[in-house]
């Protein structure tokens, strides 16, 4: 079942029959298969799936980090052949995604250096750091900061570019529950303030429901879209109240069932 149809000019990403094959020990293995998906402007789309369902590969396809083997992926109407302007990826492994030898401010500056003038650059860096609450850490080095703060630096680095879309690959997977909750709320605030579209991968179903406007459930391998679920929970979301709403619990159950179903289908298909 394809996603709900919306007017084309509302889309930032459009995927049609998107697939990725990689050579693995000589044989070609399909990682992601027949993905037909639209990402709407300003939406927070979360993607859930078990390990091996190609979530990261799908994100890399959207981000232009790997070329598609089948089908098409286009950003603002243009096919994605390389990382498009207006799209930034935030990686799960923050300590290897940041430049540990540069200060926090210099890290956030990385995408802007040489592209815009020094004064505007400094201003954007300042704003990005303020948005994630790291103004006071501008002169520290990443290795002096906690995991949550390092991930915030990576987010600020992406925000400084004022992207249309942020692609996030399980960004809070390596963090403890409390830091995760704080960062989730921060991300929602950024989403509300800037109107940036988000594509957010997670294996945490509750996180997917809490953050998203829509959830895509992937099955596989190879990664295929199993189901779309719209999230009609009120915004702004709240860690305590939203998570206790009957609608939240129903969605959590539905998605859990969908993930299990996707796993079963996969198993049956192989039997």
């Amino acid at each position: 079942m394809a996603g709900e149809t919306t007017a084309a000019h509302d889309h930032v990403f459009e995927c049609r029959g998107l697939g990725l094959e990689l050579a693995h020990h000589g044989a070609r293995r399909r990682i992601v298969d027949d993905i037909t998906l639209d990402v709407r402007r300003g939406e927070f789309l979360t993607i859930v799936g078990a390990s091996g369902t190609g979530k990261t590969s799908l994100l890399r396809l959207l981000g232009g980090l790997v070329p598609a083997s089948h089908g098409t992926v286009s950003f603002l109407g243009k096919p994605v052949a390389s990382p498009p302007e207006g799209v930034v990826v935030v990686f799960q492994d923050y300590s290897h995604a940041l430049l540990q030898w540069r200060t926090v401010a210099a890290n956030v500056r990385l995408g802007l250096e040489g592209v815009i003038g020094r004064a505007e650059c400094d201003e954007r860096v300042r704003q990005a750091l303020a948005m994630v609450g790291l103004e006071r850490c501008a002169d520290d080095h990443p290795w002096q900061l906690s995991g949550g703060m390092q991930q915030r630096v990576q987010i600020a680095r992406a925000l400084a570019l004022r992207p249309a879309v942020m692609l996030m690959d399980e960004p809070f997977g390596a963090l403890d529950a409390m830091t995760k909750a704080a960062l989730q709320d921060e991300l929602l605030r950024v989403h509300a303030q800037t109107g940036t579209s988000f594509v957010f991968i997670t294996h945490d179903i509750e996180e997917a429901v809490y953050l998203g406007d829509r959830v895509v459930v992937l099955g596989g391998p190879p990664g295929r879209i199993h189901k779309f679920l719209p999230i009609e929970l009120p915004r702004p979301r709240d860690q305590i109240h939203t998570r206790q709403m009957p609608e939240f619990l129903r969605l959590r159950l539905d998605i859990h069932a969908a993930v299990l179903e996707a796993g079963r289908d996969q198993h049956d298909a192989r039997a």
């Binding site: 980090l65 990686f91 492994d93 290795w143």
Partner: protein, 255 residues
């Protein structure tokens, strides 16, 4: 940076060994024709310093070491970068390099002598040939071990290839490159001394051999110990310089 602490136990041990040596020789317990007591070595050392002879030889050796080290580092880094970044270069060059690397540089000394005679050139050729290897291997390894994630970061931030290389990849490989340069400095001094002993009649190595031939064991010992002190001083200076150069890298702050 913590103040230099005086290593009392270590110093006491050294003084004890020196004292034992002095006693052993003076009392006749240990009697080799050419084993002088430390006091005689110390006196000889003073004499060499005052006459300016030791200084002259030191200057020559230091010059050879520094020129050789800079050349070896430059060539080693250049080749190391080429091999690190280019699979094509590795495919064609690595086998040849793997054949050359295990050969002891000293074995090339007669060849260098034939080509360049008893001169500074011979000394430098030997020094550079031996000292390139740690720099080359570590530079190549450093570049190749930079994680693919950093390349992805460069791409998602839409940095040009040049910017990615200069701002991301090279600084990431810098600690490994610095290690290579540090390793090569020790080799440089060793090769300089050897070359001076056998192929270029100048410098500290030549002084050791010439004092040996002149049957002046206390002066010979003085030179040998001084070479040791020079090695320690050079190494210490290099550690300081690497710490400064890598001051922003987390690793160096934990040393």
């Amino acid at each position: 940076m913590p103040a230099l602490k005086f290593n009392l136990p270590g110093t006491l041990t050294i003084l004890a060994v020196v004292g034992l040596w002095e006693f052993a020789v003076r009392s006749g317990a240990v009697a080799f024709d050419y084993l002088p007591p430390p006091s005689a070595v110390f006196v000889a050392w003073g004499g060499l310093l005052l006459s300016g002879e030791m200084l002259m030889q030191t200057v020559h050796t230091l010059r050879a070491v520094l020129i050789g080290w800079v050349l070896a580092s430059a060539i080693g880094i250049g080749l190391g970068l080429l091999l690190g970044f280019s699979a094509w270069a590795r495919r064609y060059l690595l086998a040849s390099l793997e054949l050359l690397r295990p050969l002891p540089a000293v074995a090339f000394l007669p060849l260098a002598l034939l080509l360049f005679n008893f001169s500074l050139t011979t000394e430098l050729v030997l020094i550079v040939y031996a000292s390139i290897w740690p720099v080359l291997i570590n530079t190549m390894g450093g570049v190749m071990s930079v994680g693919t994630q950093l390349y992805d970061v460069g791409r998602t931030l839409r940095l040009s290839r040049a910017r990615t290389l200069i701002k991301v990849i090279l600084p990431a490989a810098a600690p490994a490159i610095v290690v290579g340069c540090r390793l090569s400095l020790g080799l440089t001094l060793v090769m300089a001394i050897i070359a001076e002993m056998l192929a270029n009649p100048h410098g500290l190595g030549y002084a050791v051999v010439s004092e040996l031939q002149a049957m002046q064991p206390q002066r010979m010992f003085a030179y040998v110990f001084f070479i040791g002190l020079l090695a320690i001083a050079l190494n210490g200076a290099l550690i300081g310089a690497s710490r400064w150069f890598l001051r922003d890298h987390a690793v160096s702050s934990h040393e």
